[in-house]
């Protein structure tokens, strides 16, 4: 202990003697490689969050000339008393419920099938096809499905009306534009989009599992379902946890899709907390960004709580 203090003093003495510069320079040299990344990360990820947190306690309006005032929790109180806040959170949760099961279960099933394809060349072809939607940028996915769902000339309604005759031109389903079908329509699109990518995720997980155990179980007469439930599923649990948590996060915070498919009608099921925030911050009055910031923070914190809960539920047991 005493020795350590002496050592410290010697070191401090040496530092003072040699000046602070060499120490600083050593530190700078070590950090040099991290600096470019950190400049962007802090400037456009860390700082904005801190700044938005600060804004949420003020009456900040971007286009207003009046000085910004600190208003404490006023924005939060107002938001939490606004039925629209709760409705918008509920809508985001509803969408998540529509989207999450399909985007986990279908890829899992598909991964188990593709994993057993013995022919290497065919397996490669399958993997490439599966990943094609994942390399199509988000907005282009939305544009594509905006046409698919088009009321008059979209191929989906064409199939339903002309090919199957389930509907007529008058009562064909109105998928987009904030009808009750809009959220399921977006959920279907999102499942389609993530199908291949998540399948690849699970295939990578399956590749890491030894094939001996399932094989031995089959020889002992276990059914495919038993093999899946007792051997494959527990081993895939960590991957499943990551996917569930990440997809929950992305589903709750969807915004581009709602902007493109829904608009700013407050009664629309696509008017979720993200749109509520955007509406207040960039559309309403003199851009009420203080209030918008508090809405964003409420949504984000609510999400984080559920995510922490999910991580706890899926925690490794035993």
């Amino acid at each position: 202990m005493a020795q350590a203090i002496v050592n410290d003093e010697v070191e401090v003495g040496a530092r003072v003697a040699g000046g602070l510069a060499p120490v600083l320079r050593k530190g700078m040299n070590e950090w040099l490689f991290l600096i470019p990344a950190l400049v962007f990360f802090i400037g456009y990820q860390v700082w904005p969050i801190i700044r938005v947190l600060w804004m949420s306690f003020t009456n900040f309006q971007l286009l207003s000339d009046k000085p910004t005032q600190w208003v404490g929790f006023d924005n939060y109180v107002q938001a939490l008393h606004d039925p629209l806040m709760w409705a918008s959170l509920g809508r985001a949760a509803l969408f998540t419920l529509m989207f999450l099961p399909g985007t986990i279960i279908l890829p899992l099933l598909l991964a188990i099938l593709v994993d057993r394809v013995g022919n290497q060349r065919l397996a490669t072809v399958y993997r490439v096809i599966l990943l094609i939607p994942a390399v199509i940028p988000s907005t282009l996915i939305f544009v594509l499905w905006k046409w698919m769902y088009n009321y008059q000339s979209g191929p989906i309604n064409h199939l339903l009306v002309n090919t199957f005759g389930l509907f007529t031109v008058q009562n064909a389903p109105q998928w987009l534009g904030g009808t009750s079908l809009t959220l399921p329509a977006i959920a279907i699109m999102e499942v389609w989009w993530g199908l291949g990518y998540h399948t690849i995720f699970f295939i990578a997980g399956l590749a890491a599992i030894s094939k001996d155990l399932p094989d031995a179980a089959r020889i002992d007469g276990a059914s495919e379902w038993q093999v899946f439930w007792h051997i494959t599923r527990p081993q895939l649990a960590p991957i499943m946890m990551i996917l569930v948590v990440l997809r929950f996060g992305s589903a709750m915070a969807v915004i581009d899709e709602y902007l493109i498919f829904g608009g700013f009608n407050r009664a629309s099921p696509t008017y979720t907390w993200t749109i509520f925030m955007y509406d207040q911050a960039f559309k309403t009055g003199l851009w009420r960004q203080g209030y918008g910031a508090s809405i964003g923070m409420i949504g984000a914190v609510a999400m984080m709580f559920v995510m922490a809960g999910l991580i706890w539920i899926f925690r490794p047991k035993g």
Binding site: F33, P36, F40, F41, I132, A134, I136, T139, Q289
Partner: protein, 293 residues
Amino acid sequence: MTLEADHAEINALREEPGSSIGTSALRHVVINFFNLIILLPLAWVLIMSVKSLPDAMRGNFWPRRFDFTHYGFVFQHIATLPVNLFNSIYVTTATVLITTACAVLAGYALVHIKPLGSGLVVTALLISLYFPVRVVSIISIYETQHWLGLINNTSGLILPYITLQLAISILIMRSMFQLVPHEMFESARIDGAGHWRALWEIGLPMVRNGLVVIFIVNFVAAWGEYLLCLTLVDDEAKRTMPVVLAAAQGGQGQWAWPNLAAVYVIVVTPGIIAFTLAQRLFFKGLMEGALKG
């Protein structure tokens, strides 16, 4: 049953578990059913882009008459199209290059230099993956860009675009560099090479597959970005291609369906071709460590 027979049976099961030809065929049918669902919408756009106008109105999948002139038409008659396309290429290229450089340097530093505070950096990066940063930060990013005089400025988009996938890119590079033994860099540096040369000559070739992954991840993010471009850029001529496409009301005039589809195919194809060519490296990269990140 002899030991060899046992082995033969296990091997047979390993080839096509579930054994019989019937279940194997069923498996391929199910997989291809999903493949079809994935490919059909894309095939629909591709065919739409070469349909004659009357066929486009009719809505049948297969046209009676093909018309390949839409591709030329959109470049001649949609005034902002070449500009928008150029904006997309410019912003995306800059974003991919800068993000990759940042991620490689940071990934190397976090594994092989380990300055004080590295742990904190990794924790912050991980948290940023779970927090809805992209949505919430838009309010403040507008203010920052306003302050920098970068509102309605195409180049200004590059700054926030770099951070779209920066955290995940750094984490991917970090797990790639963890696969490279420390000693390789140590010995290079004993031989007199600095961190720069050690990274450039020894590190980069070893993390090649990871580079392919972050190239693609960042390309996809920047090429298709919507929210920031919509919010920060007002002029149609200064916007990127996807934002203009998303706003286009299909069916009328210059945006008749086949024209729209032609633009769509032009915008989507480069990414798909690049991915198909690089897919072997991409999958290797994924398996090597990207998925762990």
